[in-house]
Symmetry: none
Amino acid sequence: MTDSSAGTRSRGKRERLAAAAATVLHEQGVEKTTLADIARVAEVPVGNVYYYFKTKNELVEAAIETHTRSLSDLIEALDRLPEPAERLKALIAGWVEQRDTAVRFGCPTGTLATELDKRGDGLDATVADLMRTLIDWAEAQFADMGRTDARESAVALIAAYQGISVLTNTLRDPELMAAEGRRLERWIDSMA
Amino acid sequence: MTDSSAGTRSRGKRERLAAAAATVLHEQGVEKTTLADIARVAEVPVGNVYYYFKTKNELVEAAIETHTRSLSDLIEALDRLPEPAERLKALIAGWVEQRDTAVRFGCPTGTLATELDKRGDGLDATVADLMRTLIDWAEAQFADMGRTDARESAVALIAAYQGISVLTNTLRDPELMAAEGRRLERWIDSMA
Amino acid sequence: MTDSSAGTRSRGKRERLAAAAATVLHEQGVEKTTLADIARVAEVPVGNVYYYFKTKNELVEAAIETHTRSLSDLIEALDRLPEPAERLKALIAGWVEQRDTAVRFGCPTGTLATELDKRGDGLDATVADLMRTLIDWAEAQFADMGRTDARESAVALIAAYQGISVLTNTLRDPELMAAEGRRLERWIDSMA
Amino acid sequence: MTDSSAGTRSRGKRERLAAAAATVLHEQGVEKTTLADIARVAEVPVGNVYYYFKTKNELVEAAIETHTRSLSDLIEALDRLPEPAERLKALIAGWVEQRDTAVRFGCPTGTLATELDKRGDGLDATVADLMRTLIDWAEAQFADMGRTDARESAVALIAAYQGISVLTNTLRDPELMAAEGRRLERWIDSMA
DNA sequence: TATGAATGAGGGTTCATTCAT
DNA sequence: TATGAATGAACCCTCATTCAT
């Protein structure tokens, strides 16, 4: 019991750091975020961070993995819905629900991808995987609906979300996300 | 004569700096770009930059203004086309033409907006104006086409471009932009 | 039984650490070597090192002692030879044999002495003892040969070795050591 | 005059840094010396060091160059002597003169070479050049004296100096250097 | 005895900004 | 106006040493 809680505390710390990284990197951006910021949020002494992550990049990587896991969970939940159209609309509904976060910080994945592209380390490939996972899942839904242009539709859907996230964030207007959500839903409905 | 040529040279320097800033900030990102980088590209001594721009932020602002002027020029050119639908399709065609740049650096305005949002200075409002200008123009075209949902369509169009820019850049695939361009054209055509 | 075997295991660990320290400190230098490096080579967990050595300096001391013991063994072996001139020439032959190590890392004692001198801890005195032991032994051989300048010759011999080690290492040429070895042998022979 | 003094001040600063580096690196060793140490001795603010030297390694390189220049000056002075044997003995006399420095810090070139070998950067090649320059010069003198074994003698001479420097430093005894100096002089004399 | 985890001081380096001329 | 030089705050990272168990 004591041992297990000790193990838990250690693993907990790593996870706390990864979670803090995911949040803070989203909110402040990769470049503006210092290790001290992440350490503070995770309530871990700065020097100790390096016991778990050898470089700042590894911390960014862990943040991406956190997002990847979130996406997996989301997909798993959506897959429980019976109809592909419903699944897609539930995805959209989720986006709309989080529109206030989008207003303040944009899409976590999209802004991260944009920033990592400029950095020159190899991390952009990792976010690309994450992005592809989402597109692939959407494609599967469109295919399930019998669409022959499933890939193109999937790309268009995710692009619409990425784009409206940028606009919602830039123009500080959550209603943009809401309206686009309704438009996308109508689009899905028009396919049935 | 000497003064005027000096003035000319100075204005030339200021513009060279603004242009260099626009390019380099797009390619490297705001945070990764140093004043020295911009000065080097503009072929202006580092110490001299501060004669024209008191802070790095003012240089970023100048870069945005450069983009704003580019947009004005573009709009002016598009407005010479007779039909609103043609104008919109010409806009889209321009996006597709520049897809290789999007692959490497994303949309200049979008990535800048994403980065500036994280910085906390007041510059995000300036990019927002730029973004709004484009949306407003698109809205005018849709209205001209007799659409009652002109604003929503305009937002959707620009969002589509922003989003596909993110995906094109992240996934390093220019074909994404091309395909989305064709899709958007079809959409415009379907409105006629 | 358990205690004794534990004790044995412990002494084994202590010796493994000292041996690892001797090797790694020679190869990487004192400053560039971390405790983790030594622990890894000795296959001892980092945290456990401090049970045997309270500070890094103590580990350096142990490394010196390891070298001292090696020197004792060497001297013991040389002393089995009947003639002092033979003993000295056997010493020289040993140096030449190890010239490839000298090329890569220099003389273990000499480089250690050079490094420890800069550190300001009291360890330089310990290497000095080691160095003196070798000189003393050489002096005894020269005296045994009937030389009245035994001390000076001994110093010259060891200096020649230290110096050619520096050059062999710096210029990365094992042949330097070999040639100097032949020269020194001739010198010894000329005394008989 | 003003301009030239301004230029002098700048160049002076760079040189002051290089000179400080040469001294401090010799006295404290490369690893133990911080940039702040060098900056303090050169009376230059720490942040300003990087205006002249982009990395610590460049500062080390500059220190080596300082030593190289000193050697050139020395050689130039020695070359004014008429006889090669005299030149070599003057070289030796210089070593003996500086025996108190050797006691405290060893030979600047030798200790630097020993330390740089462990560091893994490419600087060891630069010190090697310095060392070779000295050997080459000595070889020329021995050749001038009609020796067929000029190279070997040159290597032996420099090795003797390097080695006695190590011993003088390690055993903290300036008399070692003095005695070895006399021995080497006799050796030179025996060649005439 | 044994060990993973924690800690904090300090080092090298970058860079926006300012200064002196 | 122009410019090389100066400045210092902040950042990432390393590591000897200590702690808790």
